[in-house]
Symmetry: C2
Subunit: 136 residues, 2 copies
DNA sequence: TACAAATAAGACTAAATTTGTCGTATATAA
DNA sequence: TTATATACGACAAATTTAGTCTTATTTGTA
């Protein structure tokens, strides 16, 4: 199945919300989770991850929250997905970081590998070209 | 996660195999499953589905099997995915056939819905443009 | 006609992944 | 000192995907 995970979907909703507030005002996890009826704990973790990967910046404590620093034109969908530790690799053999042993067993004889790599390249461009601006 | 399911992956491998044999020779499920070390039963079901949806044609009995009728240029990745009852709808709200009650609960207040629909349109074109020829 | 090879179809189980929860720690403004 | 907010990781529940098993049907050939 080709689809956004909830994690990605919630991240995009939150990013859109934060982006629309401009670069001065803070948004809190609670504020967003209330607004969209998303589990607070879940969304909080997602925002933490985005902050850790510098998609957004965070400020702790009272009156803190999250906001944007970068221009919405400079943050791509690729970056967002990757910062969530998600992937848009169409097949196992195309995953960047795969230190796990769950690798493909038939990679040796697989004739799909090469053609699918070409499709993957086109998909990479696709996701690189979509920015937060497209959500605003 | 954006990725091909095994079902799709196996389907593509099989289709590639069948397509490369031309339009005269038959390929059997056993032949393909042996060649690529794919579970026979699983692959068989996939091929049955592809046949049911006229991606390939099937002939029962001894010396039977599957082969192509259409030109590889005329079968798109979209059609293959859909014929397997899989989807490339990025979000729940974008699924074509969703008579189930597992619909999105926050669709009313969701501000991501519209921008994601535009991205979906571009993705549809992406998958419509890839044909079996791209696997050969 | 009997048999073997092959597709057809669906129920069922197992495995993997995703989604969501909980508890605890840390920082900061008032 | 307290309330508010992020940070982080372990865990549990739910869902989806992957794989197996069983039975039926079709068809060429010995
Ligand atoms: S090697 Fe082939 S079967 Fe294995 S993951 Fe890559 S494309 Fe899929
Ligand atoms: S309405 Fe919004 S949250 Fe619901 S599925 Fe569509 S995009 Fe996702």
């Amino acid at each position: 199945m080709i689809k956004f995970s909830r994690k990605t979907e919630y991240a995009l909703i939150a990013i859109q919300y934060i982006a629309n507030k401009g670069i001065t005002e803070f948004s809190t996890a609670k504020e967003i989770s209330d607004n969209y009826n998303i589990s607070y704990e879940l969304l909080a973790k997602i925002l933490q991850r985005l902050a850790k990967n510098n998609i957004i910046t965070s400020t702790k404590g009272v009156n803190g929250g999250y906001k944007f620093l970068k221009s919405p034109d400079d943050v791509t969908l690729s970056e967002i997905i990757e910062s969530l530790n998600e992937s848009y690799a169409l097949t196992r053999c195309l995953k960047k970081n795969r230190p796990n042993k769950t690798d493909c067993q038939i990679a040796d004889c697989c004739t799909l590998k090469n053609p699918v790599a070409i499709i993957q390249n086109r998909l990479n461009i696709f996701f690189d070209d979509i920015t937060i601006r497209h959500l605003m």
